[in-house]
Symmetry: C2
Subunit: 441 residues, 2 copies
């Protein structure tokens, strides 16, 4: 009876039940007693129940609750749970897109591009520098530089999921800073995949051509622009077609199907992250009647799925990777401290300074910089690719994990206080913005 | 980059998108134009897009959309999609439990037991007889009888998902007939797993002991009784604990976690079907304040997930299995016609006749008998176990698939007209029932 697929499912359903309870306890404790965003409690719960901590213990001499699956492409969670978590991430970012005012978004694309450029270039160079400085790579030849290039690529990641969740919780998704961060994440992702393609190209072939990089750029940017363009023109027709369906939940299901379609197409055919596809589709539909139709039911689906995403991210955090490999623990600790410090400084400065030049005051620039800070699952996955392909070793992997955890956990802690207080726009731009918003509505 | 787990996920997300769109188109066409229950359109959509039909075509010379996964324990769908479908089934049956009036349920457990007993015993013997009659097994020795025993076991299956969905659609879940069918499915499942354990025991060991059968019975029945008992006593405390959680979606998530827990425990530790665990937990919580708290959000989650379940069931239907193996096509066709006819007669008579003796009139007995008719995914899974373990061959497997499709598709077609018209209770029991319901409310 070992081949009965229902028994496999039953074990995973048990894990799902544990994940949901852990998420809610973590979230509730965070909100009530620790006065921190619930998303942090969910991440913490995930870390706690991961196969590397409580989940890996042989309780009562039995099998551990969360076993490390052998064939999940290096992921420490079962593919089924990882899949549900990714569905959750798509739903989360799709809703963030739906909730975004498209006019507002278009208006802030240019500032966001400046923010994203700074938030990619500086972290890349500082990550590169830290790796070389601490002797984990050298400048002797291109081959010796590869680990440093890879760490640089990991440093550029922006995981917009956490920021989107925090901003949704405090209802600031649609603020100028919120829109800039989300638009910035889109641009960041385009730049990030180009950088990753270059680094992997160098690691595999020793070189990359300008043509192939240009192609990647065109594809990624073209997808995004195309979807936005199509969205703004045909979204009304899409909306009408979907609203023709009368059966219970018809609009919800079809809207989600569109979100899934955009996500899959973004990843498979254009090399973009799925959540970017989901966000863009949400944005494309944000001006339609559909939005109001599905708002309530979407919230319920979100409430159910999204905690799974954050717990599963937490479960991917492997503390035991830290200090593994040939490097001494003290060197690893020093590297981790340096890289984490560099990661925070480089994103805050790299994204914050450009923000000051594109219409935000210091308050606004700080908010945006903090919003771009979390590396989250994006960095974990890039680091995982590096580890499994042999470009970086266990030692560097462990260090990048620490950097990822710290930036991911620190950001929401700082974001909420940062969003208290007045406007983040410069006085001149604010007057202009208010006039335009006044016009628009 | 082949090891990037996100690319694997992206392909599955694309499939999920196709599944959702197919479900809604199938459902809408059924309801609007064919005037049949939407669940049938969803099943049909699943059959159409399965790897055996449209999904398996090499469109434009590329890879087929739905490839047959090699390592999914004989299932023709990817484990991730099968998992989501099972989550959907759990949510569906949990909600059916929540919507059931517990007093009503307890009242109809005895009639339901009679209905289930008849609906297991007669189909088993008629399935056995058909297999022997058509020469697919012989009575010479126990070993030669094994295929017939297995077909008998497949015939006893009841897939309550379809009936629950149809009754929910026409708002008759809480009718005496509806409750009897759902309670009957619980008993049917207990009897079914005992029968399956006996048949598998005979196939593997050549014999089974009364002790081991008794143990299976005690475990299955004990779980169910225990959960009902605990549910009725501690459900109020559970409800209070859950309502303590203030965060958005807290009640929804924790209630679903309980449903998942009960499902997993039922399958892993007690050998019961997951959906029976889910239904029982729903029943246990049906009298609490929680029910009203989560009703709306549960409906949205249901609307999203449940169509996936029915499309995925449809996708498991493999017409090509029919006529495979050494048997001639004409023999297969005859066997399929005989077995399907026997399957319908045996359930309708086996469940219907006892219903006449436990308080229902002819109308009520017909409704109940039709409600017990669909074999659905339960039979598909049992048949799949038989095929992969070598107990039955491709020829018998194909025939049982036809039987399953027909009973599953015919039942909802007949159920809706059957539920029109008057009461299904005998006049004497009706007076009594009305008096009691009047007392209870």
């Amino acid at each position: 009876m070992a081949e009965n697929p229902l028994e496999v499912v039953a074990h995973l359903i048990l894990l799902l039940s544990i994940i949901l309870v852990a998420a809610k306890i973590g979230g509730e404790v965070s909100e009530r007693y620790l006065k921190i965003p619930p998303v942090l409690g969910e991440l913490g719960a995930g870390i706690l129940i991961s196969p590397f901590l409580l989940g890996g213990i042989h309780w009562f001499g039995g099998k551990p609750i969360f076993e490390l699956p052998g064939d999940a492409g290096g992921l420490p969670v079962e593919p089924q749970l990882f899949f549900i978590a990714q569905v959750a991430a798509i739903v989360l970012l799709f809703e963030a897109g739906l909730e975004t005012n498209r006019k507002q978004f278009v208006k802030y694309v240019r500032p966001a591009t400046a923010v994203a450029l700074g938030g990619v270039i500086l972290p890349f160079f500082m990550g590169f520098a830290a790796t070389v400085m601490l002797g984990f790579a050298s400048m002797g030849s291109i081959e010796e530089m590869i680990p440093a290039l890879f760490v640089g690529a990991i440093m550029t990641a922006t995981s917009v999921g956490i920021t989107a969740r925090v901003l949704a919780d405090i209802r600031r998704l649609d603020s100028p800073e919120g829109v800039t961060v989300l638009a910035g994440a889109v641009v960041d992702d385009v730049l990030g995949i180009i950088l990753l393609a270059i680094v992997i190209g160098i690691a595999e072939e020793g070189t990359v051509t300008a043509g192939s990089v240009g192609l990647i750029f065109l594809k990624a940017f073209g997808f995004w622009l195309g979807l936005m363009f199509i969205g703004s023109i045909v979204s009304k027709y899409i909306s009408n077609v979907i609203l023709w369906f009368k059966s219970a939940g018809g609009a919800l299901v079809l809207v989600l199907a569109l979100a899934f379609l955009a996500s899959a197409v973004a990843e498979i055919y254009f090399g973009l992250a799925m959540i970017i596809g989901a966000y863009t589709m949400g944005l494309a539909l944000s001006g339609t009647e559909l939005k109001h139709q599905v708002e309530d039911s979407m919230r319920s689906v979100n409430n159910f799925l999204v905690p799974i995403f954050f717990v599963v991210i937490g479960m991917q955090v492997d503390f035991t990777a830290f200090g593994a490999g040939e490097t001494s623990l003290s060197t690893s600790i020093i590297f981790a401290v340096v890289l984490t410090t560099f990661a925070i400084i480089s994103k805050v400065v790299g994204s914050g300074i450009p923000a000051l030049f594109v219409g935000f005051n210091k308050i606004g620039a700080t908010r945006i910089a903090l919003g771009m800070l979390p590396r989250g699952e994006v960095a974990l996955i890039v680091a995982g690719i590096g580890l499994t392909s042999g470009v970086i070793g266990q030692d560097i992997f462990g260090v990048t994990i620490v950097m990822t955890i710290v930036t991911t956990v620190v950001a929401p802690l700082l974001l909420i206080p940062a969003f208290r207080g007045g406007s983040g726009l410069r006085v001149d731009t604010e007057v202009e913005a208010e006039a335009e918003i006044g016009d628009g509505k």
